[in-house]
Symmetry: C2
Subunit: 515 residues, 2 copies
């Protein structure tokens, strides 16, 4: 058994059985070891950003850590943006990054780069294997790290000689350390605070997509506090039957207004609401200056235990939720007439089946869909967590691998989708049941908005940098090139027909809407 | 004048008039400042890797520093791989990376990331502007850094508040510091060494694409030394009338054989020949163990002065080169019959006009083209310098912007081209005269070779990771989707007709060859 083989065994015995891969010359022994264990599912992505984004989506829906296989330094660089997004989503990921043989590093070869530096710029945990015998232990430690603190990005750098030299045995990843919990006094103080007028409870993490959301709703009901959720959430269970929550919005001005009358804000698994970006004369934080903020449970703490304890302290254990606490099922009518974004939202809400997973990275065009689907059949919503565009299609790949029985709908602006369009090929290769909706507005609409927000007007250079015209992208051709069936829609009837068909068939399909 | 405006002025006054841009929300004031100065050419790339690769190609052909405009942390990550390639090519590049307003960084926002860490992992020079008044000086220092030591990657991190706050004036970049030169004694020792039997002179940098190549040839003629060049060179002037040089090959075994009888190796602007990668039981260095290696002039020293001084010391100043010293013009016949890679090489060599710039990142399929074009009409050859695939198309964009009067031919494997295929759109948008030849073999052929090199056989998981079949990529559709005319060729006649037509028209065209 060589080091690479000991690592593959370690991953499998530790429950990591999926690798999103874009291998390079530095990982050949690891590739050979993977080849000997066909029970490891190897999914090829034609660009490393597809691999890291897929691992993110896979973790968000399965709670399972996947591995990525990345080429040294620049290959990891290509994965960086979606590892940033995964980090912000608290997705557990194990990256296996190749590296030159340790004795080769003293020489100047083309691919020599700062593997440690780029890993540490985004990973929570980085280790370089020092010899083949230690590779199994290092791999097990990486898996444990990825599962720690509610999910982390862990990177194991594997010098080629540690892969090909003799190893002894595999190891099994240890359980992650217990999560930190707030003190009882803090629980009691929070319970008291939530009963004050103008109190709000903001939850995140598992409280947005598991039964913990019902616990949070009971606490709100028992205390009279408002129940809130952040705008960016890694996974939200939405639609009919889920607890009503007030969600923040994208713009800081809107959040300042929403939070103006909150006297006490209790954060449970949620970060303090912050502006996406700073603007001249606008605040960085959304809460009013006088608001008391209780950070009861940080995002890397035990939110499940905390919410249960808080529910007890609030006497919320016996609260029975009523229809008032839950989102009703309200499906919009199927739209007709001239196509616009609201009608796209209505059609999607009307047609998408229960348990659809919506991956929405269409920040501007996707907003009407989010509104229309708020009362649709229950579904999951995943959004870009780190603000780095180009994660929608890769995330959808990982979601579809994690949930083969569920329909996946990926919404993307054309600008965002262009970053990682290679993911379309992986959808075709793996026969993934993803319906991709591209809002082909031929413009970086969000940038026009941000430019207006800083008070500037657009001239020639702005047009040259913000508008994707001359030529326009042809999304039907792009999809066809990747082996994915596609259709372009300019009328409402076309969209309803295309999306309806996509919902009743399996396999990848791309719908480009222009309106 | 705000900080952003002072930076745009500084760049223009310092001779930086081209920006390869993929702007994001953190750079809006810089975008607004660019908009006020239409004489700054802003070229939109639909992915940051396209911008950094274009800046690399632009510098290699023009010797001029271009700027890139990149989004903070993850946006820079997307540019990382081609910045790695640019670094290895010694291309001078100034990256302008946005950043949160400095006072916003204490909060946890989605896009907050380790901007300094990722920059330092690839840049020679990194600076964070501390306030608006210093931005102009910082920008001037970045330009100087990019022009120093024969070309460097310089990154200026621009917190948003330093862009929007009041500045005073622009600055002009100072001249870079003088390059280091070898001592006279070292020149004399090298001159003596080159007269020994079995001596070789290996040159790189400007000695491969300027009149310095003739100086090197005179030295070789005067001393009897072999004249050699590395396999990876940022820019090589090749073909008829250029000095004969013995070029290294890709594989370490081949280089060991080529260099076995070299007793003394004098390196002038060239790095010590190193294996691309380490392999079990094979050496890292190519020279024979007993070879004396004289590192006369490091790659960041004054190669022009050094070669002239060496020529004088060798009495080579009066040497008149004859036909024997220069590559003759030998054009292969136009091929017919069944298509193969040799015939593609012959057709390209026969048809490409003088002064074509060939960007060849097709490491496996491109080799026959390199052989066939060795005696073609004089042209320039650019290859991937850092081993990070996905730089061919972006580099071609930069080359075509730098040399609008020259035909550019970009050769790429399908696996490589998929990394940064968005560059096709920029070619169409800017009307760049690039003929892209895609070797659509539907496989990462180099990886199959590397796997064989480590002694492994390919099974199912290898096939799943190395082969791009089920589905095959449709390059004609991919090109059409980006607005580029394309044709697929499976016969020699089709390729000759398509490539011949591409050589006589202007504008981008893609030719996908399957053989």
């Amino acid at each position: 058994m060589n080091g690479a083989e000991s690592l593959v065994e370690t991953l499998l015995e530790s429950g990591v059985d999926t690798v999103f891969a874009n291998p390079g010359t530095s990982e050949m022994h690891f590739v050979a070891a993977l080849d000997r264990r066909p029970e490891m599912r190897c999914i090829l992505c034609l660009f490393e950003g597809g691999a890291s984004g897929a691992a993110d989506g896979y973790y968000r829906m399965s709670g399972k850590v996947a591995a990525t296989l990345l080429h040294l330094a620049p290959g990891f660089g290509n994965a960086f943006a979606n590892l940033h997004n995964a980090r912000k989503a608290q997705s557990g990921v194990v990256n296996i990054m190749g590296e030159h043989a340790s004795y080769h590093l003293r020489h100047e070869s083309p691919l020599k780069g700062d593997t440690m530096g780029i890993s540490q710029a985004v990973s929570h945990w980085t280790r370089v294997s020092q010899d083949a015998v230690q590779v199994a232990g290092d791999g097990a430690a990486a898996v444990t790290a990825a599962r720690s603190l509610n999910g982390q990005v862990a990177t194991l750098i594997l010098p080629a000689n540690t892969a090909w030299e003799e190893a002894v045995a595999s190891e099994v990843a240890a359980a992650p350390p217990a999560l930190r919990r707030p003190a009882n006094a803090a629980i009691a103080a929070a319970a008291q605070a939530l009963r004050r007028p103008g109190a709000a409870l903001m939850v995140d993490g598992a409280a947005l997509h598991s039964d913990l959301s019902l616990t949070a709703a009971r606490i709100a009901r028992a205390t009279g506090a408002r129940l809130m959720a952040p705008f960016f959430a890694a996974r939200t269970r939405r639609g009919a039957g889920t607890p009503r929550m007030q969600r923040l919005v994208y713009e800081i001005d809107g959040n300042v207004a929403l939070m103006a009358d909150i006297g006490t804000l209790v954060l449970c698994g949620a970060a303090r609401p912050t502006a996406f970006f700073a603007y001249p004369g606008k605040p960085s934080l959304a809460e009013a200056p006088g608001t008391a903020v209780l950070e009861l449970c940080a995002i890397d703490m035990d939110i499940g235990w905390t919410l249960q304890a808080l529910a007890e302290a609030c006497g919320a254990g016996e609260v029975v939720l009523t229809a008032q606490d839950l989102v009703p099922l309200i499906l919009p009518e199927l739209p007709t007439g001239a196509l616009n974004l609201d009608k796209i939202g209505a059609a999607i809400a009307h047609l998408m089946p229960q348990d659809t997973v919506v991956v929405n990275e269409a920040v501007t065009s996707g907003a009407p869909v989010a509104i229309a689907t708020a009362t649709a059949r229950p579904h999951d919503l995943l959004v870009t967590m780190g603000g780095a565009i180009g994660d929608g299609l890769p995330t959808a790949v990982g979601v579809a691998v994690a949930c083969p029985e569920r329909k996946v709908v990926a919404l993307s602006g054309d600008g965002s989708a262009m970053y990682t369009l290679q993911s379309l090929w992986t959808m075709a290769r793996e026969g993934l049941d993803v319906t991709v909706v591209i809002f082909a507005n031929h413009v970086y609409r969000i940038l026009h908005g941000e430019l207006a927000a800083v008070g500037a007007k657009a001239g020639r250079n702005v047009a040259r940098m913000f508008d994707m015209v001359e030529p326009q992208l042809d999304w039907v051709a792009l999809a066809k090139g990747h082996g994915v069936e596609a259709v372009r829609c300019v009328t409402t009837d076309e969209f309803v027909a295309a999306f309806g068909r996509a919902m009743t068939r399996r396999g990848p399909m791309l719908i480009a809407v222009e309106c």
